[in-house]
C-alpha cells in the first residue's frame, strides 16, 4: 500500500463572511491549496469535502457536486463526508483511503461551512443536530450545554477549578495572536474569561468557539506522486472511532472513548506514542474538550490534565504545544475545522507556522464530532 503525503494546503480567513457564499469560500480555499502545491485543477482526480449541515445552514444539499462545479473541476468524482464537527477529518481520511486503494494519485480533501446566513438561535439548533434529536435536543439541550455537563462532572471528579479551566482559552488566544486567519486576535486573561457571560453553567462565553464561516483544503498525493514535490508532509497514522450519539448513554462523562480508541489506532499505525508528538491540534470547541483531549490522547494521565495547564506544558515552548494557531476558539466553521487543524500541523512540520514550534518533526490532529460520538486522530511526520 502506498504512503500518503500532504503536498499543498490553503485556508480562507475564518470570519463572518457576509459577502461570500459557501461556494466562493470552498473555491478560494481550493485555489490556495493548488497554488501552494504548484498544481492545476486538471491534476486533481477526486474531491472529498467535509460539511456538517449545509442543508440547514443554507438549504443546500448535494454539496460535493456544487463544489467541483463551482471550481471548474467537473467531471471528477466528488463526495461529501459528514460526521458533524468531525466532517473535515473524515473527508481527509476518506481521501487518504482513496489514494491507498490505488485508485488515485492526487486528491483534494476539503472542508467548508457557512454558518452566519441564519440567525443565532437557528444556528444553535442546527449544531444540536449533531446530538440526539429525540432525547437531547427535545429537552432543550444545546451543544455548549452538553459540554457543560461534562465540565461539571469533570470538575467534581478531579477537582479542576474554574480558574484552571480558564487557562485553556487564555493560552489559545495567546497562541493565535498573530494568526492572520483567525476570527479574533486578542489576548485575554483568566479574569476576562471569568467575567464573560455564562452560557451554560459553568461554561462562559470565552470558553466557547464562535459561529464561523470558512473553508480549508489540502492536496493529498500518493508516494510516487509526492516525491516530485517540495516538503511533503507524510500521513503516518489515521484512526477513527464511534460512541453513543447521546452523551447521557455513556459510561463516563469525563472521557471520550471514541477519541481514546481513534488515537490508539493512529499511534499504532504510526509506530509511535504520545511522548513522540512535537505539536498537536486538538478539538477545543469548549474549554473542557481540550482538557479531555490531553487525557484521551495520552498526553496526561486521567485526572491530571490540569498539571499540563498549570505548568504551561501545552503552551509554545512547553513539552507538547497544543493549538498553536489558537484552536477552535479563534474560529470553528464546523465542517472545515478538521482540515484547518491539519493545515496548521502541515505548516508546523514545514517550519512555516506563524507560531512555530522549534524543530517540530511529528504532529497530531484530534477532531471530534458532536459530544464525542465520532472522533478522528491523524498523525503526521516530516519524513
Amino acid at each position: 500500500m502506498t504512503r500518503v503525503a500532504v503536498i499543498g494546503a490553503g485556508c480562507t480567513k475564518l470570519d463572518e463572511h457576509w459577502d461570500k457564499s459557501l461556494r466562493d469560500l470552498s473555491t478560494e480555499a481550493g485555489v490556495l491549496a493548488l497554488k501552494d502545491a504548484g498544481l492545476e485543477g486538471k491534476d486533481i482526480q477526486a474531491l472529498y469535502i467535509g460539511n456538517m449541515s449545509a442543508g440547514r445552514f443554507i438549504g443546500q444539499e448535494h454539496l460535493a457536486a456544487l463544489t467541483v462545479d463551482h471550481a471548474g473541476l467537473t467531471p471528477i468524482p466528488a463526495t461529501r463526508c459528514e460526521a458533524a464537527c468531525a466532517s473535515g477529518a473524515l473527508a481527509f481520511r476518506k481521501a487518504c483511503m482513496a489514494i491507498k486503494s490505488g485508485e488515485y494519485d492526487i486528491v483534494v480533501a476539503a472542508g467548508a461551512e457557512k454558518m452566519t446566513d441564519i440567525k443565532g438561535t437557528s444556528a444553535i439548533s442546527t449544531l444540536m443536530g449533531a446530538g440526539d434529536q429525540e432525547w437531547e435536543s427535545a429537552v432543550g439541550l444545546t451543544f455548549v450545554g452538553l459540554y457543560a455537563l461534562m465540565t461539571n462532572a469533570y470538575m467534581r471528579e478531579f477537582g479542576l477549578t474554574r480558574e484552571e479551566l480558564a487557562l485553556v482559552p487564555v493560552k489559545n488566544h495567546k497562541h493565535g495572536l498573530n494568526n492572520p486567519y483567525a476570527q479574533f486576535n486578542k489576548e485575554i486573561t483568566v479574569q476576562d474569561v471569568l467575567n464573560s457571560p455564562l452560557i451554560a453553567d459553568p461554561l462562559r462565553l470565552l470558553d466557547c468557539s464562535p459561529i464561523t464561516d470558512g473553508a480549508a483544503a489540502v492536496i493529498l498525493a500518493s508516494e510516487r506522486a509526492a516525491r516530485k514535490f517540495d516538503n511533503p508532509v507524510w500521513v503516518l497514522g489515521s484512526g477513527q472511532a464511534s460512541d453513543t450519539l447521546a452523551l447521557h448513554s455513556r459510561a463516563s462523562l469525563t472521557e471520550m472513548l471514541a477519541a481514546r480508541v481513534a488515537s490508539r489506532k493512529a499511534y499504532e499505525q504510526a509506530g509511535l506514542g504520545p511522548d513522540k508528538i512535537d505539536v498537536a491540534e486538538v478539538h477545543d470547541c469548549f474549554s473542557i474538550a481540550e482538557v479531555l483531549a490531553y487525557e484521551d490522547l495520552g498526553f496526561a494521565n486521567k485526572g491530571e490534565a490540569r498539571k499540563l495547564l498549570i505548568n504551561n506544558e501545552t503552551a509554545i515552548g512547553g513539552r507538547i504545544p497544543v493549538n498553536t494557531d489558537g484552536g477552535l476558539k479563534l474560529g470553528h466553521p464546523v465542517g472545515a475545522t478538521g482540515i484547518k487543524q491539519i493545515i496548521e500541523i502541515v505548516k508546523q512540520l514545514r517550519g512555516r507556522a506563524v507560531t512555530q514550534v522549534k524543530d517540530a518533526k511529528t504532529g497530531l490532529t484530534h477532531n471530534v464530532g458532536g459530544s464525542g460520538a465520532t472522533a478522528l486522530v491523524h498523525i503526521f511526520g516530516s519524513e
Partner: protein, 133 residues
C-alpha cells in the same frame, strides 16, 4: 425544528407519557430512551417493554442560558443527566429553583409542557424532573 414533528411525537408517546423503556431478556440491559434492538446482544437479543419508575439521581447538570429555538421563553433552565434507579441514564430539564439543582440530588419524573412550536403551533409536552430532596 425536527423534534416537534407530530408523527415523531405520536411515535414516542408511550416513552414520554408512561415512561415505557425497554429491556433485553437475554442480557438484562435496560434502555431508556427505549431501544428496539439490544446494542449488546444485537440480533440475539430479546427486547421487551419495561416501565421505569421515573425516580433517579442527578449525575451532572447545567443551566442553559442561551437557548435553542422554541425554548427562548423558558430560559434560563436547568438540564441534568439523571441515572434512573432501574439503571438507564437520560437527559431532562429539572424544574424548580435553579439554585437547588445539584449533582447527587434525587429527582422524580413529571409530565410538563416542553416548548411551543411558534405562536400558532403545537404545544409539546414531555418529561421533566422535579427535585424530591
Amino acid at each position: 425544528m425536527v423534534h416537534s414533528s407530530i408523527p415523531l411525537f405520536w411515535r414516542l408517546r408511550k416513552a414520554k407519557y408512561r415512561l415505557e423503556g425497554t429491556k433485553c431478556r437475554k442480557c438484562k440491559s435496560v434502555f431508556f430512551p427505549p431501544r428496539s434492538f439490544c446494542s449488546r446482544c444485537r440480533r440475539k437479543g430479546e427486547i421487551e417493554c419495561f416501565p421505569f419508575s421515573g425516580k433517579g439521581t442527578i449525575i451532572s447538570y447545567t443551566i442553559i442560558r442561551t437557548p435553542p429555538e422554541g425554548f427562548e421563553k423558558q430560559s434560563p433552565y436547568a438540564v441534568a443527566i439523571v441515572k434512573l434507579d432501574e439503571g438507564a441514564q437520560i437527559s431532562g430539564q429539572v424544574i424548580g429553583d435553579l439554585k437547588e439543582v445539584e449533582t447527587g440530588k434525587r429527582v422524580s419524573a413529571v409530565f410538563r409542557k416542553m416548548y411551543e412550536d411558534g405562536p400558532q403551533g403545537v404545544i409539546n409536552y414531555g418529561l421533566k424532573f422535579a427535585l424530591t430532596g
